[in-house]
Subunit: 548 residues, 2 copies
């Protein structure tokens, strides 16, 4: 009541307000409303003798609004003919309680009333019969509106990426991305925020804040975080003289790449702001065709000064587990919609049940070391219960089949695998006292495998320098420098390196810190049940494919 | 009271919570607290005989926390020696009301107490005297901690970008980016949100929602929005055989660019979701050296189905004005801090006064057409009051001097200049009935010039096709197609074009829509008083320069 009063009295004087969306209308209304307008496009339409049923969507809800157009004297058949799948309309009528099954409300329009039906965008549903005024031959007769009601194949929708957000599951996925990024942001952000999700219900969800600053780190960089050579490179400029034999100039005076991770730059900001995160595009020029890889993807990355002991990644795991649990609402209409439409069982499937169990507050996600994981895999392999294509072996990477077995079969839920062998991980992860492993983790989840990777970062300058030499990130030195203490040659190599600034963070008051990178599309895939990350982003890019 | 109760009782069971930041501590505390810890780095330190004063910052507040270290028996001189500018420490002591001027609170530490002072990161303030254990020669003696307390030049800080977030004005700018992006997001977002900015004060700021979905559109694209040829291109892959004469392969099977704007892709999503926005990186390979251009910058772009008439951009202007007014709080400590530290007057300057007037709720921002703007400029030019380098002339672009005169002198505040000549603007802007101008605007503000550009988009397929031909965006046709109706050749050209999908949005139920793009760094520059956009982003990139 307090909130309601504040909401209705406080407003920006003269603030411009767009009309309510269908979502806002349905979530704030608890009584019938006469004489209002809604705008949306027709998802499906069924014309009968005396009335027409249409589902109208403006993309803000999972199910759209059921509209009923009643026939009257003074009808406008021309307008009615133009009402087809895909057409955008503004309807003026009454929001009434629906007598029909399947929805609480329906929107009733009198066909002949002035202004009751306004066409905002015609849809060329069949180019042969609906020729456009000026460009008769634009569409060959074989082409029609690509998004008809019938089921469309994933591949077909990828080819028609520019319109696929009109399918209910892609639209739900896009709303889910919005929804989860906002929730994540609320958990990270500085001031506490109270979110009223459905205003009419006055549900108040207090959000804890973790005191982070949201930052923008660069996409174009001279530093390759992983040192893996999978970065896209920006082309040099065309030579002004085409006959010139000179090397074409670099726009930035040195080679420039698209970042594969924002971590190194976040570490720089951590030195000043203590706790930072970003949700930003990352890029990998991998020739991968799996359902878990994209050439352009979004990554949630966080970095902060750790408050607990260094040889443990538990602080990072605990933070991350809390973050994901706080940011995902499995009961959201969009998640439910996507699972319900999923092939092979949907809301009744084992996959869905496993997912719900993962979000059961009573049980913490499992932690195990890499060594324990290898033991479990080897034992299983030896017993012959499960034959892996690749034999599990200490020192070797976990393959996808290993990761999924650990999560899906062995644990039956999310599992943090910690302390991988030093040889498997990047140069910046902190070397443990055993000198064989690093203080890191991968979070493995069912159906996906690796969802997040994170670590304590190496804060000791001498250890870091040696690791960079081993990884070939410094110019080579006469004695190769991998055999012991760091000498003068390594120092010179570091000073000449593009990673000098990164090393210098350790000299100038940088505190022990750590963080993680979460593949945003994989998170969407995990919680929504969408099997391929190409359907977890609006306009996917992968090897050989870039539409739009 | 209601909120306080809810806040204290509702919590995620077992949720991991990081310790309070200095900001959280200062904003929630209204009484003295004994025996707590704070973590931060030393901004400045003054050692006296019996006590030491240090300003400790964790980057979350504009001013840091005043710490007082009292000398005692059992002192630890070794630790005290290591307390220098830049060092990160964890202090345990008491938060007390400060008897001194300049701050409400101070943090008092007993030097000799166990665990009172813990060094988390040493700062190599002078490499000659503070040699590191293992790498004695790493830093030449001429190098010391780059961020000393004294004033540092802008150019010097650009060279030391990896540490410049430790200066108070860059840190304030980074927090301001966080703060404004969150406010923008709250105005756009779907559910209404109540932000409690300072919890102890229980200030409730109801936020209106405009019903938008936050979306992620691609950075890598085959479509060049402006058709201006200023896009960075992704390099082709190195040929597997270095002696090969074949054209090197494209990763995406076709030329790929970094996007100069997300608008075209947002238009695609508008067809399904009705109202969308993004805050994303954009890229321009311009050789510009001004204080208003970056090669990599962030742009806030919104696109929605318009609800008012098409030949007016007023809906977009009104929406935008409301958005900016709702999202900027000129009284925020960070904005105040940056203005206060600004050269040439700071909070007493004419620039600051002009800015405050722009946010006066009583006055709407001025609107004028391009034609009116040219008349005003020409009249001024003719009278000789103001000599412009470029003579103002209908049909020519407004130069920077024109834009700034209009905003700073003629209007004395922000001004929307609308309906530019068709020849000056991109192909997608809607042609007005006069056939000479387009339904667009630029928002000009003092000190900056153009802050935002926007328009109604051309929804008529035939007009759009002709404009694309004129702009050379379609393959050339035999009769060049600029002389009248669109014929079969143009249709074929469109079908072969990379813009076909964009044109098709007009065929399949796309409603009339419009939107804008706001340069995020320019917004920061305008409201904070920072003169150069290179200081309005953490790690700037421009022609010839890319550090880190």
């Amino acid at each position: 009541m307090l909130l309601r009063r504040l909401y209705s009295t406080a407003s920006h004087s003269g603030g411009f307000q767009l009309p309510q969306t269908i979502r806002q209308l349905l979530s704030t209304s608890n009584k019938e409303i006469h004489g209002i307008s809604v705008t949306g496009w027709i998802k499906s339409i069924r014309k009968q003798k005396n009335l027409t049923f249409a589902v109208v969507s403006d993309g803000t809800t999972a199910d759209g609004l059921q509209a009923v157009v009643l026939k009257q004297d003074g009808t406008a058949p021309e307008v009615m003919k133009r009402l087809t799948n895909g057409t955008t309309v503004r309807l003026t009528g009454n929001l009434l309680r629906s007598p029909g099954r399947g929805q609480e409300w329906e929107f009733v329009v009198q066909e002949g009333s002035k202004g009751a039906i306004e066409i905002l965008g015609d849809c060329d549903i069949d180019a042969c019969s609906h020729s456009l005024k000026v460009i008769p031959a634009l569409t060959p007769c074989s082409q029609t509106y690509p998004i008809q009601k019938k089921t469309l194949s994933t591949e077909y929708l990828r080819d028609n990426a520019y319109l696929r957000a009109r399918t209910s599951h892609i639209a739900a996925m896009l709303r889910l991305r919005d929804n989860i990024s906002r929730s994540l942001s609320r958990t990270f952000e500085v001031p506490p925020v109270y979110a009223v999700t459905e205003f009419s219900k006055l549900t108040i969800r207090p959000q804890k804040s973790q005191g982070f600053t949201y930052t923008h780190t660069p996409v174009i960089t001279g530093n390759d975080c992983e040192g893996a050579g999978e970065a896209f490179r920006i082309a040099s400029l065309p030579a002004s003289d085409p006959d010139s034999q000179a090397t074409p100039p670099e726009f930035f005076s040195r080679p420039a790449y698209l970042t594969v991770s924002h971590q190194l730059h976040l570490e720089s900001l951590t030195t000043a702001l203590s706790r930072v995160y970003t949700l930003s595009p990352c890029f990998r020029a991998e020739r991968s065709m799996t359902g878990r890889h994209l050439a352009e993807f979004w990554m949630l990355e966080a970095e902060w000064n750790l408050v607990t002991r260094l040889e443990s990644v538990e602080e990072i795991c605990a933070f991350l587990e809390n973050l994901i649990r706080s940011s995902v609402d499995l009961d959201s209409p969009d998640i439910t919609k996507i699972w319900a439409e999923r092939e092979n069982g949907g809301l009744k499937s084992k996959d869905y049940k496993t997912l719900r169990e993962a979000f059961d507050d009573a049980k913490t996600w499992r932690r195990m070391t890499y060594t324990e994981a290898i033991e479990a895999l080897s034992s299983e392999h030896a017993k012959g219960h499960q034959k892996f294509e690749f034999e599990p072996k200490w020192g070797e990477s976990l393959s996808s089949e290993h990761e999924r077995w650990l999560s899906e079969v062995h644990v039956g839920g999310p599992v943090f695998v910690t302390n991988y062998p030093i040889g498997l991980k990047p140069f910046y992860m902190r070397v443990n006292e055993d000198n064989k492993t690093v203080a890191c983790f991968d979070l493995l989840v069912p159906r996906i495998g690796e969802l997040v990777g994170g670590s304590v970062r190496e804060e000791r300058l001498d250890v870091l320098t040696r690791r960079m030499l081993e990884h070939g990130l410094l110019p080579p030195t006469p004695d190769d420098g991998v055999d012991g203490a760091v000498g003068e040659e390594e120092t010179t190599a570091l000073n000449d390196s593009t990673y000098k600034w990164y090393a210098d963070l350790r000299k100038y008051g940088g505190a022990p810190h750590g963080g993680f990178g979460l593949g945003f599309e994989r998170l969407i895939s995990w919680v929504s049940g969408i099997d391929n990350v190409k359907e977890c982003i609006g306009m996917p890019r992968w090897t050989g494919r870039m539409i739009m």
